[in-house]
């Protein structure tokens, strides 16, 4: 009888402990999205017509990137050589030009292809850049007729 009472008490203690202590089990699921780096050009001039008289022509470009830093903006002119010489060309000849560029926070004479790196502060910063081109010498009566051209390029790398 004594043993039974003890067993019953022991069982009650076991049951009681099971009822009084709540337990928790947990599951967790990470959720996430990666927004890729991107840069967007807009308002890029379709063409720049350089006046024959040596006056200045302007082409514009606008871009912005969705990152604070870590992208580069390179500017190049197809014709520019290692001596900084640039010209509008055709099969019959060439017309030297001078080029000035505003890009990011820089403005400079373009005498070589440039690469500018964005430090911090450029998250969605709208870069309103432009390129100014003019003939170094106005066209004369003996300048060979024809279409002279070059290509100005802006490349964003991120």
């Amino acid at each position: 009888m004594k043993i039974f009472v003890q067993s019953a008490a022991f069982l009650a203690v076991l049951l009681g402990s099971g009822l009084s202590q709540a337990a928790t089990t947990t599951a967790s699921i990470p959720m996430g999205v990666e927004v890729p780096k991107s840069c967007t050009f807009s308002n890029v001039s379709t063409g720049i017509v350089v006046p024959e008289d040596g006056s200045e022509a302007v082409g514009n470009f606008t871009y912005s990137c969705n990152m604070d830093y870590g992208f580069t903006s390179s500017i190049s002119l197809d014709s520019i050589d290692q001596n900084g010489y640039a010209a509008l060309k055709n099969p019959n000849g060439q017309l030297p030009i001078s080029v000035q560029v505003s890009n990011l926070t820089y403005y400079s004479e373009l005498n070589k292809n440039e690469i500018w790196t964005a430090a911090s502060g450029f998250l969605n910063y709208i870069v309103n850049g432009y390129v100014k081109i003019k003939l170094r010498n106005p066209v004369t009566a003996i300048t060979p007729a024809g279409v002279y051209s070059d290509t100005f390029r802006i490349t964003l790398t991120y």
Binding site: A22, T26, I29, P30, M31, G32, E34, P36
Partner: protein, 155 residues
Amino acid sequence: MKFANILLMLILLQFSGNIYSANQTSSVDVVTTIPVSCQFSNVSPQIIVSENGSVSSANFTLNCNKNFELQFSSKSLKDGDQTTSVKAANGTKLNTAVKVNFQGNTFELDRVKQISVLDPSSSELGTISINLASPVHATTPAGVYQDVLYLDATF
């Protein structure tokens, strides 16, 4: 004389044991205690949230052998945000809409929610859906945005 009586009684007892059949029962209580338990299984390892605002989903299964309470929450809500969101390391947030479908009911996670399940089946399947409140656009800062969904079963 007294010794003779005792001897006779012993002999009679011996005989009676041989003459009459009897059942002798001995009982041993066999007790097993099945512990109360809840267990998650088949929990999706992660949810890749879609950039364009479409719904992504994940699943979990919960097995409980008694009544339980299930709490849905997220890291963003526990951090004190008013809505669920995924966050970048620099703190930039993209609000999300998170829904949990459990036992045929859909619970929107607009705050920490807790439900009581009084009659659990052996296996309860839950589905989680999440989408960005607004699709990612060109000016959304690049980066990895994260949140964590927590499921706590108390039993």
